[in-house]
């Protein structure tokens, strides 16, 4: 179904354009560098609807970041698509404090946008699937008053599912883009990034064993875009 729609969209599109994007995002004690290649197709009478596919590298560094229980089964007591509407179950949420998280991710991504004019466009992109790597880290597992040090590694496989069903490290951006000439544009907007560590054992035991911990980072991204 989706593949058919995409095919129709692409066939009806007269215009296509590839671009390279580079951006940095930052918060108080964390930041990212992202580099992406995107091939966009333009549809609609004025070619103002944009859909693109591409690949993105995201490098994330932070300092003293609190990762929390990741699996939707624990955070939301379910794994269906409706978990996106459920509040987290606080009693099931444990914490992994990582002093120097460092995560690198390569992901396929999708880009959606709307061109308001020749110069200005707003869009949204999100990683779909890929892999992550980074150095192993010793983290402080915190369960209420109890805690212990544990080894952890970056979760290898990434996949966009729904909300806390997601696996691994995935980046997304809601951005505005302004063309400063025919080829160069500036971009900016909020970036929402998931990064994930897996501990070397099931440090969490209640309500069931768990070794996956996720950090959700909302940062502000600024960057450039170059039309190929």
């Amino acid at each position: 179904m989706w593949r058919s729609l995409l095919l129709v969209f692409i066939v009806q599109s007269a215009v296509a354009q590839s671009e390279l994007n580079a951006g940095v995002a930052f918060g108080k004690t964390q930041g990212t560098l992202s580099l992406a290649y995107v091939h966009n197709w333009f549809a609609g009478e004025k070619h103002n609807l944009v859909i693109g596919l591409g690949g993105r590298f995201t490098g994330y560094v932070g300092r003293n970041q609190y990762y929390v229980t990741a699996p939707a089964k624990l955070t939301s007591n379910g794994t269906g698509p409706l978990v996106i509407f459920k509040e987290n179950i606080t009693a099931n949420m444990d914490t992994l404090l990582v002093a120097k998280p460092n995560v690198y991710a390569f992901n396929a991504m999708i880009n959606l946008g709307y061109r308001f004019s020749e110069k200005f466009m707003m869009g949204f992109n999100i990683d779909l699937v890929g892999i992550s790597f980074g150095g192993d880290r010793r983290g402080n597992y915190i369960n209420g008053a109890q805690g212990k040090m544990t080894n952890s590694a970056v979760t290898t496989f990434n996949a966009l599912l729904v909300s806390d069903n997601d696996l691994g490290s995935l980046n997304s951006e809601l951005y505005g883009r302004y063309m400063i000439n025919k080829r160069w544009a500036v971009r900016g907007g909020p970036q929402f990034l998931f990064t994930e560590y897996t501990t070397d054992s099931n440090v969490q035991q209640y309500p069931e064993p768990n070794d996956r911990f996720r950090k959700k980072s909302l940062m502000f991204m600024i960057g450039t875009s170059f039309n190929l």
Binding site: F26, K28, T29, N64, L97, A99, N140, I142, A145, Q146, G147, K148, M149
Partner: protein, 138 residues
């Protein structure tokens, strides 16, 4: 000028704010040691930081309490009092935020904790995973 402004903004963004420091007003918790049973005691040794004082575990009416008296240490962010199985917080019980860097202070030990399994009292900076001081309890 622009460069200086950018550097200034970056410094502001990435600096620790005053909210990061632990309280340093002297405290004097009331704890009647004369009517409690002394279980274990040990002297603090600063680890890369200035710290001194004594930690003592008492039991009174079935409640175990860790008392720091006297106590004084260098300030730091997010300082916590741990009962630990090892000298570096490999496995621990968090007794709470350090009330002050100076003065007599008491911390209740959860009833389920077997104190005999935790031979150290640590002053631990949780946010930065840094050990400030340790007392080996005997």
């Amino acid at each position: 000028m622009k460069t200086k402004s950018v550097v200034f903004l970056l410094v502001v963004c990435f600096s620790c704010g005053p909210e990061d420091a632990s309280p340093d007003d002297p405290v004097t918790d009331v704890f009647d040691a004369k009517n409690a049973t002394l279980i274990k005691t040990g002297d603090f040794l600063g680890i890369g930081h200035d710290a001194s004082g004594t930690a003592t575990i008492y039991e009174s009416a079935g409640i175990r309490t860790v008392v720091l008296d006297p106590y004084r240490s260098q300030n730091g962010p997010d300082l916590k009092v741990y009962l630990s199985k090892s000298d570096d917080a490999t496995e621990y019980i968090n007794l709470g935020q350090l009330k002050s860097t100076i003065g007599k202070q008491s911390y209740t030990v959860p009833a389920s904790v077997k104190v005999s399994e935790y031979p150290y009292v640590l002053i631990w900076c949780e946010q930065f995973s840094v050990l400030f001081a340790r007392a080996k309890m005997k």
